[in-house]
């Protein structure tokens, strides 16, 4: 009995170990967001998001930005400057990769701090690009801003798999056609002319007309 328990235990350990080694294929654990509020002055960290890729494919994170930053952001929007965002992705093994993305600053204000961050993952689930977008794409009513709550939605996008030549369906289709043809043959064994006279007759007439109207054939 004990030996059985031991075996089960060992099995469990092996399985879990295997599972972990498979899933911890350097999965993403944290995302740090830094933005630039004064052009050329450098990035300020304002949010960090904890991610678990196994459970969810999107994360919503909210953060409050302070009044001085809000003022700077408004100034950026009024000057029609670009809002640059530096996104650092940290994986479970501690590897950090940073990406840069941008949008117009007025769009951030215009969408009332609702932005969407898309993290693009390659076929091994490691990120290679980050894109920033806003929920509304208008630069109007920059003045009636009632909130200072920054809502970031993070989406993860994986590449699609490539199309493959659909030979199976095509062969099936050909097979069906062949069967239908054979069936058709056994049903009526009239001669070809008898069966398809309605197609052949117009063709013959058409060719006669074409032949008559073509001067070269007459020569």
């Amino acid at each position: 009995m004990t030996s059985f328990k031991l075996l089960v235990c060992l099995f469990c350990i092996v399985i879990s170990d295997f599972c972990i080694s498979d899933s911890s294929y350097d999965s993403i654990s944290n995302i740090y967001l830094e933005h630039e509020l004064i052009p050329g002055a450098g990035f300020i960290k304002y949010n960090s998001i904890v991610v678990n890729l196994e459970t969810r494919n999107d994360v919503i994170s909210e953060t409050i930005i302070n009044d001085s930053d809000l003022k700077l952001l408004k100034e950026l929007a009024f000057n029609n400057e670009l809002y640059r965002l530096k996104v650092t992705v940290k994986t479970l093994s501690g590897k950090e990769t940073s990406f840069l993305t941008f949008t117009k600053a007025c769009l951030i204000i215009g969408s009332k701090f609702n932005d969407i961050l898309t993290l693009h993952l390659d076929h091994l689930d490691s990120p290679f690009a980050v894109n920033l977008a806003t929920t509304f794409s208008n630069c109007n009513n920059l003045h009636d801003l009632s909130t200072n709550k920054f809502t970031t939605t993070v989406f993860f996008r994986r590449p699609e798999s490539s199309p493959v030549p659909d030979t199976a369906t095509y062969i099936q289709k050909m097979e069906r056609e062949r069967e239908a043809r054979e069936k058709g043959k056994s049903n009526n064994n009239k001669s070809m002319l008898g069966k398809y006279w309605m197609y052949i007759l117009p063709l013959v007439i058409f060719m006669m007309i074409a032949g008559a109207s073509n001067p070269e054939t007459r020569q």
């Binding site: 670009l82 990406f99 929920t135 996008r157 659909d166 197609y199």
Partner: protein, 905 residues
Amino acid sequence: MTFKLVIIVLLFSFIFVTNGLYEDQAGKFDWKQNYIGEVKFSSIDVDVKTKRLYVATKKNVVASLAIDTGDIIWRQILEKGSDGSIELIHPTKSKIITLSGINIVKIRGWDVNDGYLHFEWSLETTNVLYWFVFNGLLHNVYSSNGLIVVDTYYIETGVKGKATYTFPAHWFNGFDRCALSSGSLACFDTANKLNIGSLTNANTQLLKVDTNGDQIKAIPGSPIPAFIVTNKNVEKLVYTKENKVHIRSLKSRASLFIYTYMADRHILLQISSPTQETIITEGSILEDATVIESLSSKETKKTMKISNPSISSVFCGRSKANTVNCVALVTTLDQSLMLLKMPGTIKWHREESLTSIINVELIDLPVSDIEAAIEKEFGNKDSFLDHNVTTGAFSMFVHRVFSQFQQLRTLIATVLGIIETPSSETIGTKSNLVRDQFGLHKIIVAVTSAGKIFGIDNLSGEILWSVLLCGIGQFYENKVDGLQLVPMYLIRNSKHLSFSPMSTLFLKNEDSENTVLFTFNPINGESKNGVQQLPYKVVQAVPLPVLNTDSVRSLVLFDSTYTPHLYPSNVPLSSKPPPIYIYIANSTNGLIQGFTVDVPISGEKFSAKEVWKTQFNKPTHIIAIGSRDAMEHIHSQGRVLSDRSVLYKYINPNMVAILTLAPDTMHKSVLTLHLLDAVSGIIIYSVVHKRASHPIHLVHSENWLLCSYYNDKTRRTEIASYELYNGNQQSNSTEFSSVGGSLIPPIVEKQAYILPGFLQAMKPTITEKGITSKHILMATTTGHLLEMPWSFLDPRRPLGEPKEEGAIPYIPELPMSSESMINYNKSLMRVDGIYTTPSSLESTCLVFVYGLDLFYTRVAPSKTFDVLKEDFDYLVIIIVTTVLLISAYVTKNLASQKALKQAWK
């Protein structure tokens, strides 16, 4: 039902087999030039009757050329790459024997008359040092277990000879310190003394030579062991004869050749070219240094450009006047091949560097002087920024009178036959290099890896000019595939009347990594102060949307620290350009960065700001970036479906396709296609192709993409086709902007097709307005140039019942009908690329295919709907029209008379 389908298929097959060519049209719009590549070995046929020479080239080609003309008599192409690299040729009476390959060596015998393969045997061997033929036996020199072993084989049968020799390993100490000539190995020992030993018999002793040196080179094709030893830039000729070493000092730096003239007399030929226009030959008896007067000459030819000539093979004979005459096959540094008759002249000349074109562009010719005058007269400021159109009434009147006087003068001259009409045979002369009515006459500017630029007439294939780049700069190298790169920008086109066109090449400085810009006129190859050394390395160059005040399209150059510069600098722009977005991709580390640059109107002092950055993971390489042709126009914004609704195309001018290839443990290699908006850095779409490997080709045009790759799993070439649509609504319809644009990703239609063959190159056709339907030109390894309508590659081809009008039912395999092979029986081998450019005729697209052969043709994907057929009967139409006019007039009169008569009744 099935019959209907069969009828439909039949009807479609009738629709598409109309691309054929009539027999009398062959060669009318197209030309093909055959080349052989840079010559590695050669041999002149001793038999005077056949008058041939045999060459083996670095493009793995064995060929026979006619001595009198240099025309190819036959040509055989061996395997690509190192598998087919020719290591040795050995001419016998009836055969040319070649040895090719590195580890598995193939020995083949080719018939001298027609190039047919007589025999082939192969040999597996490793650690090969040298190959040579001695007494009809092939000698394989290789190192094994600390010994140098020489195996012998009968060259025609492959039977191993009895003799096998071994020599101590210290005889050979590296390829840079040793050389083999005519079966003798010469090496420097540790004290830099030269030792020579024969490898053709078992018990030879090393001959110690009392000379020092730091470099050794064998004289190619020498009948006796002969070497050039360089010691501190002083060259000496060392040769052995009857087991004795002779040393002869050489005066000038020249290429040498030794020819057996009489039993114990050898002729030493020397050739050199101190300047590009002159060629000096010297001949002497090797043994006693007697100068042979008839072989010594100095020649100057203005039209030639010769750099570093070397003699590849020689044939000498005694003339009636009892003087020695020789013909020598001479190769040069720029890979040209010429036959030199001594004494005398260059008999013919071949430009073999055209087999390695690395960049090509077809450039419009400028308008003729008369047309330029008309343009000047009616030109307005909008279209011709470069000249000051005077707007005063009097000056315009003077202009008009002047130009009309000129037109009258040309007319009279043409009528009197003083000036020949442009359609005469003198194509290529200066006066004829003018734009024709339909924009079909252009100039092909080709840059070759030998460092030579050519200007080629596209109608005749004649080389109009050539420029050597040696001394100006070298080429940069692509770090992923090791190919040479030479970006070329047409910074001023031919439309500016008062300025000549300008092209700029980006070259690498010979001593550092910095960039050298070489600017030249692509019409005549002239360059005035065209070389500009930059103090930095350019990593990206982007043309601005506005011209500068010299009508030059300025380039924004990014150096390796991502600092932008303007070229040409110090010239203000004509108007303020909008902020531009530039991306830089690093193919080796997978980093792509986007920058925005705001160039002020003065063109001085500006900086770049990094706005986006993507980073592919470590082993990923960027192998191709496909952007749409800048000249491309999309005529139709959507596609009408069967229910009369419109499916709008997703047309993003900033979208580029990026192909990355990453090694994978499970799938061998993974090819990923990313669609990236180069302005905003947004990844629009990505798709993974597993087990895909080279050859990979990418085509990006309009709203669709094609990606061809070799599928390792199914072992065939597949083409994945993608098409992007916006759906039923057109987003971004008023004004397109990538920044802060639509969030909704486009609808991607995808489908894959099987290509029964292997692709060498793929390119879509392009026309001026984009009305004509698109065809894809595909060069296959079998030598065909296939013109495939895009509708065959359409991802919306229905699998079941056709839903849209004109949709072809899906068939996985693409048809390769012989009618769609536009190069008919002119096979194109080793194609490196296809270049397409629009003509002024909407129906016609000009095609230039380069590789081992050059091929030029024009294609009309939707047939020549805007051109009358050549057999159009003008006479009949004139007669019919006149008859109709006359009869109309007559009947009108008759009718009025009848009406009058009736009125009187």
